[in-house]
Symmetry: C2
């Protein structure tokens, strides 16, 4: 082995994207076809698992929201063991492995075991839901940047975010897994100075056939999401860009166009 | 037309990802094959343009860093005109259309013209470079979230970011197009309280064969990037996660493994 030369990877930590199987990368799709073993998450959709060839071993390593099916340590061990047995492993993770995916913990473990690995990025939920709901993450004059945080926490107290930094009217805030903590998130942001009328959206199962989008404000989004019985996984988007969904949401163009046509007919 | 029903899109605003053609989504790849006309950016790599079928019209709408080849208004007009002429258009944009891509301005224009469009997300540069350089965007105990901003500005004064909000040791900061402004960015973050020793990386042409990664600290990264003559496009990553590249960078495993083997041989 030459120092600094990349060895062929034994484990691929692969982002499966937000849910729509067509949002897999070409590389993810190829690696799934070439794998001996696919280890997958709860957030990887059935439509994506259908792409795994019939002869390939599939191992579920999901963690449900409340009951943790397999602790992270065990997943790390599992990946190392299957690789050391000589199998070519694809570790398929919802979204992007290095954005709230704990992929870096798996990568660290593999590195320490001397197992060659490669990380394949995926479409992160914020990008996927943004496109699918017609809510750009940035837009001139409305949002000069975007911050991604996770709303996942064991209890109210452990959601320890710096609310004053996050309460920025000139940026978009994307909260992953934010449904359970939405009332707290809204209250904290308002307390930190963000206007209660700030537009906010909750996107459930974004990019999939089950997608549901709930639009409101910081004040009422939690109540609206509860009334509509939204179910995880949910991405929350907060900021002035949410207002653009009235024009940019996939159904908005047809509606605007029809309104325009009716106006012409009326004239 | 039924209200609220999605019409078949005439224009697809498609994210081409960070550069590696294998990081295109399956959907982007399919739409490129089906397009009548492909309108593309300067940031779309030649390797990706090679995937456009020979019979498909290609129109360059790039904007160079300093000489703006085509103003945004003209691009908006161009997309509308080609679509109204009955052609199926793929507007191919580097990265993700709704993250610093000005894709939402194009979408807004199409919506106002009553032209049906669809946005297809792409791998944004922060995800692509993160995977390619072994620098996770989030990691337990090191970064609880990530903020994406752009360092692109006409001059020093117009780079008007809220440095105090951005100078957060518990988050990763990703600066798109940040090379030219790197000295100012570092100085402002240090002045706002971020430790001068904070690890920082500059990744040029991330995910492509031309990729170069420069690692340093807030204090010396600008000087190192200049010494190595890095060229745009460059993504800057700032925060404690950058330190993980020593273990997670694609060449790091082989090196660690070799060091381990040499130690065994020596024993």
């Amino acid at each position: 082995l030459e120092i600094g030369v990349k060895r062929e990877a034994q484990v691929f930590l692969v982002g499966a994207g937000p849910g729509d199987p067509e949002l897999l990368t070409l590389k993810a799709h190829r690696l799934i076809q070439e794998a001996d073993v696919v280890v997958y998450d709860r957030l990887v959709s059935d439509a994506i698992l259908d792409l795994v060839p019939a002869g390939t071993a599939k191992i579920y390593a999901g963690k449900a929201t409340k009951c943790r099916a397999m602790p992270q340590d065990e997943i790390n061990e599992l990946l190392a063991k299957v690789a050391q047995a000589g199998h070519r492993v694809v570790r398929l993770k919802g979204g992007d492995p290095y954005t709230f995916g704990r992929g870096s913990e798996e990568a660290e473990h593999l590195a320490r075991c001397g197992i060659a690995f490669e990380v394949v990025p995926g479409i992160t939920s914020a990008s996927g839901c943004s496109a699918a709901a017609g809510i750009p993450l940035t837009h001139r004059g409305l949002a000069s940047g975007v911050t991604l945080v996770t709303g996942h926490a064991r209890d109210d107290r452990s959601l320890d975010l710096d609310w004053h930094r996050l309460a920025d009217p000139d940026q978009t805030l994307a909260v992953y897994m934010g449904l359970a903590m939405l009332p707290k998130i809204s209250a904290e942001l308002i307390a930190a100075g963000l206007a209660p009328s700030t537009p906010a959206a909750a996107i459930a199962s974004g990019t999939t056939a089950k997608q549901r989008v709930c639009i409101g404000t910081l004040t009422d989004l939690a109540e609206r999401a509860r009334a509509q019985d939204l179910q995880p996984p949910v991405l929350i988007l907060i900021g002035r860009v949410v207002g653009l969904s009235a024009v940019l949401a996939p159904t908005a163009t047809a509606e605007a166009h029809d309104a325009e046509e009716r106006r012409h007919v009326a004239i």
